[in-house]
């Protein structure tokens, strides 16, 4: 077991996003200031290819450990400040997405993640697709990319703080 402990701690101190240190500290300050220390996020997949989900999940790995800044992924939309939506909104997921939206308490922010959410990307003309997201619920911020990398998602959260402040 000790072999792991040593490695994990070395990672934390030496290898975490050396190129984005500034960004991470800025994010912590912004969340402290704007949201009083924590931001709860509920991820909702409306028809992604799963790569967007994988990148969101990666935010919790030891390289990014996004919970340090107060960003926590929660199990229910009822606990959420932010709905982070991925995917092109399939016909079958439209109703669940709207239900999740309705169940998130006010005030709430909707962030869309990945090109699929913005214009349905490659899936635009399908009979089974009802997107984009903004056709159905208000969207406050879009994070582009296919999929956006973890650092882009972190940058996105920072932008969100700045907008909320204004």
């Amino acid at each position: 077991m000790l072999f792991l402990m040593k490695r994990a701690f070395r990672l934390k101190t030496e290898e975490i996003m050396p190129e984005h240190k500034e960004l991470l500290y800025e994010l912590r300050e912004a969340i402290d200031k704007v949201f009083g220390g924590s931001l709860f996020v509920r991820e909702v997949d409306t028809g992604s290819c799963n790569a967007c989900e994988v990148e969101v999940a990666n935010l919790n790995n030891p390289y990014y450990d996004i919970e340090r800044f107060g960003i926590k992924f929660v199990a229910s939309p009822k606990h959420a400040d932010v709905l982070l939506i991925t995917g092109c909104v399939t016909r079958n997921m439209l109703v669940p997405m709207i239900k999740a939206y309705e169940n998130a308490p006010n005030p709430k922010f909707i962030v869309t993640l990945g090109d699929c959410t913005k214009d349905c990307s490659y899936f635009k003309d399908s009979y089974a697709v009802e997107g984009p997201v903004e056709k159905h619920i208000p969207v406050h911020l879009h994070i582009p990319g296919c999929p956006p990398e973890p650092r882009h998602i972190i940058e996105g959260f920072l932008k969100l703080c700045n907008r909320w402040e204004r």
Binding site: M1, F3, L4, M5, R7, A8, L11, E43, V44, D45, T46, G47, S48, C49, N50, A51, C52, E53, V54, E55, V56, A57, N58, N60, N61, P62, Y63, F73, A75, S76, P77, G87, C88, T90, R91, N92, M93, L94, V95, P96, A100, S121, Y122, F123, D125, S126, Y127, A128, V129, E130, C146, P147, E149
Partner: protein, 495 residues
Amino acid sequence: MFIEEEVEGSNLYSRVRDAIREGFYLFGMVGSDERELGRGFAIRYFFMKKGSVRVFILRTEDKFPSIVSLCPSSKNYEKEIRDMFGLLPEGHPDSRRLMLYPENWNPAIHPLRKDYKGEKPEFKVYGRYTYKKVMGDGVNEILVGPIHAGIIEPGHFRFSLAGEAILQLEIRHFWKHRGIEKLCEGKDPKQVLKIVNRISGDNAVNISIAYLNAVEPLLGLEPSERVKVIRSILGELERVWNHVRDIGWLFMDIAFPLVAQHLFSLQEKLMRFNKSLTGHRFMFDVCELGTVKVDFNRDRERDLIDLLEVIEEEIRQVEEFALETPSVRDRFETTGRVFKNTAMELSLCGVCARASGLERDTRVELPYLAYKDVNLHTFEEGDVMARFLVRTREIYESIRLIKLFLKNLPEQTEKANKMQKPEPYSWNIGNAETPRGNAFFFVMFDKDGKIYRLKYVDPSFRNWPAIQYAVLGDIIADFPLVNKSMNLSYAGNDL
């Protein structure tokens, strides 16, 4: 490579029975609307036995005999053909819809018929899906999803419990149905490749290899030996990072987050390497028609080998840790068992098949690209431990293969040959072993060289039903563990 045979409704049953007796198993059923060509609807049954493929073609106007009683793995294929083409599988035990939901879709509209032009029916409730009901004293139900608690894809799971033990699990999928097969029709093969990369993002490389294996021969393209080897390396690299992540999730669910996070940081290392090699963390769009976008040089080879040596060393320690730690063995062993005969009846593939004693791996059954002499690792137990060990052993095997490929990387010789227009209405199949199992494509071109019909079968489409058997008798707290040990895709399944 394959033997085709036209069959009638009346002798289908006996032909399928003979094939199964000879050791063939069903790995794909493809419907297609060929009425414009004066050939009615065609249903193609693809059976495989190591090294050979047998195809039965059945032509029909409205209905076809169900083979579920003979070959249970045909169940969802037949339902799919009913939804998509409106053909009736006679004698099918389940009349409910599969991917088109009665809650929002007019059941009279069948999108893969050629006369369907894409107009959407009004969004309203046309009917209700009825779930199976378990009755009796003290039976209770737990409903989960479609939106789950974690950062994962949507699907609906219904557990019926007697006390703690799971009596029945019913899964309703296809929430993410994007209509990909219809979307590909009328597009050229290059455009479709982009979509193919986005069927199931974490398996993008291997799925696109399967697609290219189908279309390249029809287009008269033969990738150079170097390209073939590089594609194989990328495919194995994808397998390594997928397996590392999947093993990580197992430890997350049994209260060993330290091991899990350690593996996730290895996954991150691998994804960063992907990015430095191909410009993309998931290696999207790296394979192109006839070629591949990356090349290796000395430095890159060295970096890759160094990284893989670290990974192998770490995974060996994790494996040793798992085998030596009683509480890990307690959770992994005998949990989520899929017995060999169940695996056979359901025509499982990939990790799930190999963990249940079936020697199934496309790299061995229908070798492609640079693969030869791949060592298979199979276990008889069919439990979480077996699937864990299949993954660790496959990581070592993939690393061995990558090193071998790099050592024997041929020089780039001839320029990629020129693309030809495919024969009108010619078709082909393509296979590849993704980290989850066999990916299967059927592609037919039209007279203008565009896609006329594309069918994709994801390994998860075959393997999802196995979870319903694996959890029986287990406690509900073991479900996440069983689920993660298979780590099936929703996106690829729902299509």
